[in-house]
Amino acid sequence: MKLPEHCRALWALREGDSGVVEGFGDNISEAYRIRLMEFGFHPGETVSCLLTPGVGAPHVYRVSNTVFSLDEDISAHVYLRLTDSTSGSPS
C-alpha cells in the first residue's frame, strides 16, 4: 500500500497529533505488521503522538492505554488519517 493522499505516515505526526490507522506500507514485513496490530495499531484504531524526542530518537505513541516507542524504520510505514482535532489535518 502506498501512502494515500489523505494520509500521513505515523512518523510524520507531531506531538499532540492523533490519527486513525488506515493501513501499512508495503515495506513492512508481514510478521511485524501483525505484531503492530497485536500491539493495538490496527486499522480503525486511534493513535496519538505523545513525544517526538530530538536528534532522530524513536517517537513515543499511545494506543489504547499503552505507550510504545517506534523508530522511523517502522513508523514511516504505518499510515494514518489525521483526526479533525489535529492541527493541519487534511481530513
Binding site: 510478521a31 511485524y32 501483525i34 505484531r35 503492530l36 496490530m37 497485536e38 500491539f39 493495538g40 490496527h42 484504531e45 505523545l50 513525544l51 524526542p53 530530538g54 536528534v55 532522530g56 530518537a57 524513536p58 513515543v60 499511545r62 494506543v63 489504547s64 492505554n65 499503552t66 505507550v67 510504545f68 516507542s69 517506534l70 523508530d71 524504520d73 517502522i74
Partner: protein, 616 residues
C-alpha cells in the same frame, strides 16, 4: 507431578506472581523481556503442583527466535498430560495489549482441553486510582474465570489457589468457543472487550507522559541521562568504598589471627598467600558488584531503563547496535555474564551478535582491581581544578571510556562489513512501562543473588588458580627463590611473548593466569612478589612494582591489554551457549587477544618514544 503453566505478556508482572505463588526469588524488573528462561518451582500452598513460568511474549505468533522457542515449548507443554491448568497473566491497567494474547492462549488451551484462569494483575493500581474494571463481565465473555490479583500486595492470590485446587479435583471439560477462532477475529474481539470491560480514562498515561516529557526531552532528558549514569558510576567507586574497606579489614584481621596459630610452615605460607591472599583478592570486590546491581535494579524497576534504551537508540544504531543493546551493555559494566543473558531482549540476530561483540569490552568489575593497581602504580595522586578532580580518577574514567569506545569502534566496523545482512534487522519497537516506585525486596534479593553468584562461581576459579600459582611458585624450593621455582621456569619460557610490551616473566605469568578470570592478575602478582593479601592492600604491591622499574609504557600497555582482551573463561562459555556456536566465542577470544596485544605493543612503543623525547 501436576503442572500449571504461567504465561503472559512481557512486563505484566508474571514473574512477581510466580515468586508470590512459589515463594521463590525469580528476577523481576519493570522492563519488558526480563524473564529469558523457562523456570519452574512448586507452589507454596500446593507443594505437589509445579508452576512453570514462561518468558513473556506478546503473541503466540513469534517474530524472533527467542519468542519461537518459548511459544514452541508452551505448545509442547499443553500436550503434556501432567499439565492440568494454565494461568494467563494480564496487566489490568493496559488490557488491550494483553487480551489478544490471552485469547490466543485460551484458544490453544481449549484445543488441548486445558482449563485457563486469567489473572488480572496490578488491580491495586485500578483500585487506588478509582478506575473501572469489570472482571465479571470480561470472564463471561472470555469463557474463563478472571481473578483480580496484585503481585505487589498479594491480594487475590488465595482465590487463585482455591481455583487451582478446584480445577485439579474436578476434570472440567475445557473445550470451548474459541478453539476454531482465527487470529483476525481474536484481534477484533480483544479490542472490543478491552474497550467494554477495561479501565477507561488516561490518568495513568497522562502521569507517565508528564515524566516522559522531562526524561525524553532533548535537553533535560540528555542532562538527566548523564546525571543518572554519573550517579551509577559514583555508586561503584564511592558508595561501596566503606564496605570494601570493612571487608578488607576483616580479612586482614582474621588472617593475622589465624596464620600464627598454624605450626607447619608450608601450611602457614599456604594459608597466608593462597587462602587469605587468593580469597581476599576477589571478596573485596563483592560490595561493588552488590551496589552496582542494586542501582541498576532500582533504575530498571522505576521504568527508567526503557527510556534510556530509547535515548540511546539513535547513537547506538550508528554502530550497528540498537537501543535494546543499551541494557545488556550497561549490565556488562558489572559483569559480562548477566549482560550476555540480557542480550536476548535484542530481537534481531545481527544486532544481538553486535551486542555480544560489545559486552566483553564493557569495563566489567573484574577489570577494576587491575586498573586500580596499575593506576595507583603509574598515575600520580595529585589533583587538578582546585582539588575537585584527581589524576587517578581521571585515568580511571579514561580507561573505562576507552573500553566503551573500542566496543563501539568494533561493532561499527563489523556492522559495516556485514551491512548486507542489515536488511534483516528488526525495527525498534519498545513498550514503555509506566513509572513505578521501586520494590526494595526483589531488588535487594537480586543484588544479593548476583553477589552470591559472583562468590560461588568466580570464587571457585580464582581460588583454584591461586592455589595452582602458589604451588608452582613455592616448589620445588619451599619458597626460597621464586626465580628458581616451577613458575619461574615457566615464566622465562614464555617471556619472549611479553618482551615487546616491556614486561618480564612475572607479568607474563600473571597475564596467563588472568585468562581464567581477570581479577586473578592482582592476586597472582602479589603471590609472585611475595606479598600477602595483595588484593586487599595494594600499597606494598604498588611499591614493589615501582621498585622493579617497570616502565610507564608497560603500565599503559597493560591497561590497554586488559581493556580489550577477553580474559574470562565463564564469559567465553556463556557466549558459546547463547550464540549457539562455540566458533563465535572462540573467534571473539582470538580476535580480541590479537587486537589487545597489537594495541598494547603500539601503546608501549609510542609511550616510550614520547618519554625519551621528553627527557632528551
Amino acid at each position: 507431578m501436576n503442572r500449571v503453566l504461567l504465561i503472559g505478556s512481557p512486563n505484566s508482572g508474571k514473574s512477581s506472581l510466580f515468586n508470590r505463588l512459589t515463594g521463590l526469588h525469580q528476577r523481576v524488573a519493570n522492563y519488558p523481556g526480563i524473564t529469558v528462561d523457562v523456570s519452574a518451582g512448586p507452589l507454596a500452598a500446593m507443594p505437589d503442583v509445579e508452576l512453570v513460568d514462561f518468558p513473556g511474549t506478546y503473541s503466540l505468533r513469534p517474530i524472533s527466535s527467542e519468542e519461537a522457542v518459548a511459544v514452541e515449548y508452551f505448545q509442547r507443554s499443553l500436550a503434556d498430560p501432567q499439565v492440568r491448568h494454565v494461568l494467563c497473566v494480564v496487566d489490568a491497567t493496559r488490557l488491550e495489549k494483553s487480551l489478544y494474547f490471552t485469547l490466543q492462549v485460551i484458544r490453544e488451551s481449549q484445543r488441548h482441553n486445558k482449563t485457563v484462569t486469567v489473572l488480572a494483575n496490578m488491580t491495586d493500581i485500578i483500585t487506588r486510582n478509582d478506575l473501572r474494571f469489570d472482571d465479571q463481565g470480561l470472564a463471561l465473555q472470555l469463557g474463563a474465570p478472571v481473578c483480580r490479583v496484585s503481585a505487589k500486595t498479594s491480594a487475590g492470590l488465595e482465590a487463585v489457589i482455591d481455583r487451582l485446587r478446584m480445577s485439579l479435583i474436578c476434570d472440567d471439560d475445557a473445550t470451548g468457543k474459541w478453539a476454531d477462532t482465527p487470529d483476525a477475529l481474536l484481534r477484533g474481539t480483544a479490542h472490543q472487550l478491552a474497550n467494554r470491560y477495561g479501565p477507561k480514562g488516561d490518568l495513568l498515561v497522562r502521569r507517565q507522559t508528564r515524566l516522559d516529557r522531562f526524561f525524553l526531552h532533548t535537553v533535560t532528558g540528555g542532562v538527566a541521562f548523564f546525571a543518572i549514569m554519573l550517579l551509577l558510576f559514583q555508586s561503584i567507586f564511592t558508595w561501596s568504598a566503606p564496605v570494601m574497606d570493612a571487608v578488607e579489614t576483616i580479612i586482614t584481621t582474621v588472617g593475622m589471627a589465624v596464620v600464627p596459630l598454624i605450626g607447619n610452615p608450608i601450611l602457614a605460607d599456604f594459608t597466608a598467600d593462597a587462602l587469605f591472599g587468593g580469597i581476599g583478592a576477589f571478596l573485596v570486590f563483592v560490595p561493588q558488584i552488590f551496589v552496582l546491581t542494586l542501582v541498576i535494579g532500582i533504575l530498571e524497576d522505576t521504568g527508567y531503563l526503557a527510556r534510556a534504551a530509547l535515548i540511546c537508540h539513535r547513537p547506538l544504531k550508528l554502530f550497528g547496535l540498537t537501543g535494546k543493546s543499551f541494557i545488556p551493555m550497561l549490565s556488562g559494566v558489572a559483569c559480562a555474564i548477566p549482560a550476555i543473558y540480557a542480550a536476548r531482549a535484542v530481537d534481531s540476530p545481527r544486532q544481538r551478535l553486535m551486542t555480544y561483540l560489545a559486552i566483553p569490552l564493557m569495563p566489567c568489575s573484574a577489570r577494576l582491581p587491575v586498573y586500580a593497581l596499575l593506576i595507583a602504580t603509574f598515575i600520580p595522586s595529585g589533583t587538578v581544578f582546585f582539588g575537585l578532580l584527581g589524576w587517578q580518577g581521571i585515568a580511571m574514567f579514561a580507561i573505562y571510556f576507552f573500553g566503551m569506545f573500542v566496543a563501539l569502534l568494533v561493532t561499527g566496523i563489523v556492522s559495516r562489513l556485514t551491512h548486507k545482512e542489515a536488511a534483516g534487522d528488526l525495527p525498534f519497537v519498545l513498550e514503555l512501562p509506566p513509572y513505578r516506585t521501586p520494590s526494595p525486596g526483589p531488588i535487594l534479593r537480586n543484588a544479593v543473588n548476583r553477589s552470591r553468584h559472583f562468590v560461588t562461581k568466580a570464587g571457585k576459579v580464582i581460588f583454584m588458580v591461586t592455589v595452582v600459582v602458589w604451588i608452582l611458585g613455592y616448589f620445588p624450593n619451599q619458597g626460597a627463590s621464586l626465580a628458581d621455582s616451577w613458575l619461574g621456569i615457566m615464566g622465562r619460557f614464555i617471556e619472549p611473548l611479553f618482551q615487546p610490551l616491556g614486561l618480564d616473566w612475572r607479568y607474563g605469568v600473571a597475564i596467563l593466569s588472568s585468562f581464567l578470570a581477570r581479577e586473578v592478575f592482582v592476586g597472582t602478582l602479589g603471590t609472585i612478589f611475595g606479598i600477602e593479601d595483595a588484593a586487599d592492600n595494594m600499597l606494598p604491591l604498588v611499591d614493589q612494582i615501582q621498585a622493579s622499574g617497570l616502565p610507564l609504557g608497560s603500565g599503559l600497555a597493560l591497561l590497554v591489554f586488559f581493556a580489550i582482551a577477553l580474559q574470562c573463561v565463564s564469559t567465553v562459555a556463556i557466549l558459546s551457549r547463547e550464540a549457539g556456536s562455540y566458533k563465535v566465542a572462540l573467534k571473539m577470544l582470538g580476535g580480541y587477544l590479537v587486537i589487545a596485544y597489537a594495541m598494547a605493543v603500539l601503546v608501549f612503543n609510542v609511550t616510550e618514544l614520547l618519554v625519551q623525547l621528553g627527557s632528551a
